[in-house]
Amino acid sequence: MKPHLRRSLAAACGVLTLLTLASCGDPAPQSSGGPATVRRVTKDQYVAIIGDVFGADIKIQGRFDPDVRESGLLAIGTAHVSVTPSSLEQYDSIARTIAAQVVDEHHRAQLFPCKPASPTAPDDGCAGQFLGEVGHQLYRRPLTGQELKAQVAVAHEAAGTLGSFYDGVATSLAIMLESPRFLFREETAEPDPDHPGTLRLTAFSKATRLSFFLWNTTPDDQLLAAAENGELNTESGLARQVDRMLASPRLKSGVRAFFTDMLGFDAMATLAKDPEVYPKFTPTLIGDAQEQTLRTLTDHLLTRNGDYRDVFTTRHTYLTQLLGAIYRVPVGTKGGWEAHDFPDGDPHAGIETEVSFLALHSHPGRSSSTLRGKAVREILLCQQVPTPPASVNFSIVQDTKNANLRTARDRLTAHRTQPTCAGCHKIIDPIGLSLENFDGLGGYRAQENGAPIDTSGDLDAVHFEGAAGLGQTLHDDPAATACLVNRLYGYGAGRAPVTGEAEWMKYLQARFAAQGYRLPDLMRTIVTSDAFYRISAPSKPDGTTQAATASPKEGKS
């Protein structure tokens, strides 16, 4: 959407924002809120933060522990993982290499607000100025007086021992970069004066949730200032920040991060295909495939402000030469991307017919209707498919050499006659079978083992033909849009919606529909609501609630 157009729409709603929570529709229902979260920053977030605070040329070398997927999202898993000894060792090593670069002769001139009295001795004034400014961004709030004092003391002692001011500051900075205050996004709550008896996130926690949700990085100076001066706790102030953030090019990073998580693209890093069956498969190709889907999505949902449902049917996408070889489309642009529209009648329509989806949900050497059907259910419709029971005989399923069972449909139909398997397979296979025109890498084929492929499919009570039919069915299925709402909210809140938010989730879905399934509008509805920041009272170890005591995070230095 063009910024000026978006702003004028925002202004139209903004007037009403002051009056009611839901600016352009029915008032929002009450929500219980959920627990505050403590989320470990992800690798991508870590990289983005370091880029924001110190510049994109700072190299980050090291291994990050894998994230854990819960309730369909890594973002929710981040609220449950910890830091093991081996992972701390990695954070320590990464932090020291970053700190060494930040203080090297090349960077210190740009990054330090001051010069030490002597480069070979401690200088608490200059160290404090630098560490205070940097710490503000890294901890997403001002350092407390005690924290800053401790960091300066580390720099002082190290500078004395090592005979270098900058090595001293680097030692202190490294400690900050491996501190739990940086590695974990700890949310704190306070009583909400506008809704007595309820809790809300504190302003800095609010800024952090907002920034990671929309931009996938640490809050910038303006957002931190809005938290500090109270602006973020007013409806108009919040709306101003939200307008600014939704208009920023950084929104694209945030939306890409969300879909990378929702679509399970973390699995791309370990995706393997048999090179003899799929000689075109390379890590570069699969990287391009992921990028293609993210480009298709951000182009459709942000640039064009399109209807989310159309991502299942869109024929407009972006290709590289490597991808062109799979789609059998000539791509002229060398080493870059070009837009492509698949013609009507082409089997490619919608992200579920792109290489990223088809290859990810296949076996290394062949397609899998079961994996694809399961992925449609679990990833695109948020429906849980049970795990297969123990003691199942799979012999018949994919004996690809059986002369009587030449296609996947033949083999799966035989398998489904076993009663223990039938229950689940009948709800997943008929979805995946509609994509059987695409092999295990996503290339088109009309036949399997010389037999024509029947791509008719079923999703619940709807019968359809082929990939395009599946796309249209997904487009029309309310579960698909409800799934997006559910995932997006869970992604932002760091937890699955709780029972007390059921009405609120219904409201969000209704708003999404009323606004033509526009993603930026949905994001705006979420981040300008009270519900998004409402915290249910958590119990502390001593039995009191978080809000019962003043948050130390809000303390000023």
Partner: protein, 444 residues
């Protein structure tokens, strides 16, 4: 030489004024906290696990006879040379206790945590290697080391909870750098100078440690456990730095290996075998150089993704889909991978046995526990999951036996291994798998 931090500080800084907090260090204590660890102590006891996915073939790996005179069954032939230092456990069963069997997961987690998991990735307790590491792992640089030969760092069975997973290192080169990179202190080096940078780093960690109470007081109970785990990791890092500040006792068996080249990591069987061989060799030297006493190796992932170059199908798929050949009683294509797996175990045993140490080899001074997650992968069977114990554990175990569990829970084996290694546990496991019945046949 008895290390004294105050002396080191003074020596290093020429007695200049420094203010460093000097807490009494855990690493100077033995594991009971009753005495200072002296140099020249008996060789340390080591523990390792070795895991592979998709089991073995029933009828082809269980010896006919039990006890010491067992016959080496066809699938275990490559282990013949180690027969007197290998014990085979058959007939031990994982129970699901009404929680449903999670394919390729319930078995391994029942063996390692003593309880059937609630679901994929949802364990009820820590895996027992972490308890062993807490018992014997405190004296070395790393409390434990985890590696995988199939390329995916997420493939690790070692966990303190569902969310606290000790991720595996897949790359031999990266593993080498972690062990023998610039931070490695060669125990046999002629001179030793404590590195002032290490001293500074260690001291700086107190700025984090000082935040512990405040931070834990701000969060709910579940987050408190997670953050406490973080602070445990901080103490572990501190201990690693401490060890770097001490002159290590010379270790005759420690020979710093050459740096491996970059290798292709992935699930293709030839790559897996090559990477596993490198990782096994590095792990043996990690033990010999006292970098760790506890390790976990994944030869394959639970849903065994091993595959041949140019084949369309993985080991896992074969176990389910390939018909059983009536003559041989096995699935021929799947058996190809079973053979490579058993050879992989042999590679690990050879790697440990080829390091001479004291009056024997590393293998004599360790207990290596090998296990899978099911017995017959074709039907995800949880009865008679293959388990092995190799090594003499400094004479703490009797070896060379075939034990038939007769349908007893797998936890009997885990409990026994823990007891041999000094974990103070008299009973272990949950639900129907709770047991206090050790496998006394193998205990000395």
């Amino acid at each position: 030489m008895k290390f004294d931090r105050r002396t080191a500080l003074h020596g290093m800084l020429g007695g200049g004024a420094v203010s460093v907090a000097l807490p009494f260090l855990d690493c100077f204590l033995n594991t009971n906290g009753t005495a200072l660890a002296a140099t020249g102590a008996p060789l340390p006891l080591r523990f390792g696990t070795w895991f592979w996915g998709c089991g073995l073939t029933p009828g082809r790996w269980i010896p006919q006879k039990t006890g010491a005179a067992y016959d080496m069954p066809p699938e275990l032939k490559p282990l013949e040379a180690f027969k007197d230092r290998l014990s085979i456990f058959s007939g031990f069963k994982a129970n699901t206790d009404g929680k449903g069997a999670v394919p390729h997961y319930t078995g391994s987690m029942a063996i390692m945590t003593g309880a059937a998991p609630k679901g994929q990735g949802m364990v009820e307790a820590a895996t027992f290697d972490t308890m062993v590491a807490d018992t014997i792992g405190g004296q070395s640089r790393f409390r434990s080391l985890e590696v995988t030969a199939t390329g995916n760092p997420s493939d690790s069975n070692s966990r303190r909870s569902s969310a606290v997973i000790n991720a595996s290192e897949p790359s031999p080169l990266a593993f080498y750098q972690r062990l023998f990179g610039p931070e490695f202190k060669d125990p046999n080096a002629a001179d030793f100078k404590p590195d002032p940078r290490v001293m500074v780093r260690k001291s700086a960690l107190s700025a984090i440690k000082d935040q512990r109470d405040a931070l834990l007081g701000e969060v709910g109970a579940a987050d408190r456990v997670r953050l406490d785990e973080y602070f445990t990791s901080i103490r572990q890092l501190e201990q690693q730095l401490d060890i770097q500040l001490q002159k290590p006792a010379p270790l005759e068996a420690c020979k710093v290996p050459g740096q491996p080249g970059a290798t292709k990591v992935g699930t293709q069987i030839d790559d897996v075998i090559a990477n596993h061989r490198l990782l096994a060799g590095l792990m043996a030297q990690a033990l010999a150089c006292n970098q760790t006493q506890v390790f976990n190796v994944m030869f394959g992932d639970a849903t065994s993704s091993l595959r041949k170059a140019g084949s369309t199908i993985t080991h896992h798929q074969l176990t389910h889909e390939e018909p059983i050949d009536e003559k041989s009683g096995c699935q021929p294509e799947a058996t190809y991978f079973v053979e490579r797996i058993v050879e992989g175990f042999q590679t690990m045993l050879v790697a440990m046995d080829s390091v001479r140490e004291g009056d024997g080899t590393l293998l004599d001074h360790m207990l290596l526990f090998a296990y899978s997650e099911c017995s017959f992968a074709k039907v995800h069977s949880l009865e008679s999951i293959p388990m092995f114990v190799a090594g003499r554990a400094n004479g703490k175990v009797k070896t060379g036996l075939h034990i038939d569990g007769g349908g007893d829970p797998v936890t009997r084996v885990g409990l026994t291994v823990q007891q041999v290694l000094g974990v103070p546990a008299s009973s272990w496991g949950a639900g129907s798998m709770q047991t206090s019945k050790s496998v006394t046949e193998i205990m000395v």
